[in-house]
């Protein structure tokens, strides 16, 4: 899923300062799962903002809404009739959702209510961890199912570096060294011959470095 984290409330208050009427839009997708942008968070954030503005003597009218997905035109259209009546939309979806709303409603200012994080997994309740950078050229079959681009702090293709100590990365003891994980797994799978092979320089053009990416499926158009 795409993860995110709350923005500090002061930052959001500063963003909404010029407005008296706005829509607060959540999303039922990834950000609901990681508990930062779903219907419940919409409710909580709306009341916090209302209370703060009331206390400041500048009440704020907030229309609360949660879309099935903010990254899909079908659901985004549901806001069309509504946006005209408000000065701005504060979205607590991921960056893609927020931008999609901005694209669809060019006359309405869009405000980001969360910081979008990474493509990751729920390790346990309350803990998420990054797994994929969407580089567009997957080699997980060679690295024991563990991504060196994402899980090595230096995205090395022939790790570990000299900083790997007792399974931890030099960047932080709390971060497992991705290459230690890869080697442990290659050993367990009996695939150490993959380690000894020189891998060609990665082509980054399929990643963000090649410019904004898009996918076109002729069969679906």
């Amino acid at each position: 899923m795409i993860t995110g984290t709350e923005k500090p409330i002061e930052e959001i208050l500063a963003m909404v300062e010029p407005y008296q009427r706005l829509i607060l839009a959540g999303c039922h997708g990834c950000v609901t799962v990681c508990r930062v942008g779903g219907a419940k968070e919409v409710q909580v954030l709306a009341s916090t903002l209302r209370l703060a503005r009331e206390a400041a003597g500048r009440p704020l009218e907030i229309h609360e809404v949660s879309l099935e997905r903010q990254c899909d035109p079908e659901y985004v259209e549901k806001l069309r009739g509504l946006v005209g009546g408000y000065q701005a939309v504060l979205s607590i979806a991921c960056g893609a959702g927020i931008q999609f709303l901005a694209e669809k409603f060019p006359a309405t200012p869009l405000l980001p209510g969360i910081n979008t994080g990474f493509l990751g997994v729920t390790v346990r309740q309350g803990e998420w961890s990054e797994r994929c950078q969407g580089c567009g050229d997957c080699i997980l079959h060679l690295t024991g199912g563990i991504c060196p681009v994402t899980r090595c702090a230096k995205s090395l293709f022939h790790g570990p570096c000299g900083g790997s100590v007792r399974g931890s990365c030099e960047v932080d003891k709390e971060i497992p060294c991705g290459w230690q994980l890869i080697i442990d797994r290659l050993e367990a799978l009996g695939q150490m011959e993959n380690y000894g092979r020189l891998k060609p320089c990665k082509g980054w053009s399929s990643a963000r470095d090649g410019g904004p990416r898009r996918i076109i499926r002729e069969d679906m158009l």
């Binding site: 702090a153 230096k154 995205s155 090395l156 293709f157 022939h158 790790g159 570990p160 570096c161 000299g162 900083g163 790997s164 100590v165 007792r166 399974g167 030099e170 960047v171 060294c177 230690q180 080697i183 442990d184 050993e187 150490m192 380690y195 000894g196 020189l198 891998k199 060609p200 320089c201 990665k202 980054w204």
Partner: protein, 308 residues
């Protein structure tokens, strides 16, 4: 001969080689490099110039190399892949060779979080293994990695760093093998204090015949005090300093610890000279260049040979 490097010539002639290290200053003052050069000159076959080590910004390695050259020292250019993408790396390789730098050491580089600019972008377009391959391809095939022909191939004696003590131990020797396959002509090791473990490493390397395929320069760093030993053990990743070593220097009164550290370093070099497959030593006297002559001389390695 792959390059016109003095270090390569010394090794090819079968001499036990000596290299040292110079960290460029945190500023633009060339005199600091010249002063260090004066202390190193005559005691080594080539001198490494570090590339923003521990991610702390310093005078560029290439500039440091040129200053050493002006002082009549043979430089060894360290190059990390942390700060430059493949375009900049290739370009700097060409520039360094054009300016007469003949020795190269390919490294990953410490993560930027350790320096003054932890917010810097993390480049790592290619890794140190791929940089070895890239430099070797340019030198031996006279082409860019893209296949286009070079207007003059760079000439380098190409090296890599190896850490016989890092985790996991199981891949230490496969990793050396991979570095050789990628293009390393020589390797410099992490500082050795744990002789037992290092001998084990060499034994395993011999099982694969690796010391015959690459020149292994054993890294040593003289300890200035028991405090330094403890600090390095605690703070430097992959640094293996056995308790016995710490105790030995710690047993001396404070004012005699530095002399003891030098004595221990010389003993270590003497022991390394006896290990089959060790082609030389890399003496990293960190900010202690004035002791280099005493250490290298004490180990019976002076004067340095002149090979034509």
């Amino acid at each position: 001969m792959k390059s016109a490097s003095n270090l390569e010539k010394v090794l090819a002639a079968g001499h036990f080689a000596v290299t040292a290290e110079c960290g460029p200053p945190r500023g633009a003052d060339p005199e600091i490099v010249r002063r260090k050069a004066a202390l190193v000159k005559g005691n080594v076959d080539a001198c490494n110039v570090t590339d923003n080590q521990t991610s702390v910004v310093r005078m560029s390695s290439l500039a440091g190399c040129m200053l050493l050259r002006e002082e009549g020292l043979e430089p060894l250019l360290q190059m990390v892949v942390r700060d430059r993408n493949r375009i900049a790396l290739q370009s700097d390789l060409l520039g360094a060779s054009a300016l007469g730098v003949r020795n190269l050491l390919c490294l990953s580089g410490d993560h930027q979080k350790f320096g003054d600019d932890p917010q810097a972008k993390n480049v790592f377009d290619i890794d140190s293994m791929q940089l070895l391959d890239l430099a070797r391809t340019m030198r031996d095939e006279g082409v860019f990695p893209s296949g286009r022909k070079l207007e003059g191939a760079p000439q380098f004696f190409i090296g890599a760093a190896v850490n016989p003590f890092a985790d996991p131990f199981a891949i230490r020797v496969p990793r050396l093998k991979l570095k050789i396959a990628a293009g390393a002509d020589f390797v410099q090791t992490q500082c050795i204090y744990n002789m037992e473990k290092f001998k084990k490493y060499m034994e395993l390397a011999w099982q694969e015949g690796l010391p015959e395929q690459v020149h292994i320069l054993a890294g040593v760093t003289p300890l200035k005090s028991v405090g330094m030993a403890k600090f390095m053990r605690r703070m430097v990743a992959g640094m293996d300093i056995p308790e016995a070593v710490v105790e030995r220097i710690g047993a001396e009164p404070k004012e005699k610890q530095a002399a003891k550290g030098i004595e221990m370093c010389i003993e270590l070099i003497e022991e390394l000279k006896e290990i089959k497959g060790i082609a030389g030593v890399h003496v990293m006297a960190i900010e202690w260049e004035e002791k280099l002559a005493e250490i290298v001389g004490g180990a019976g390695l002076l004067p340095r040979p002149v090979v034509e």
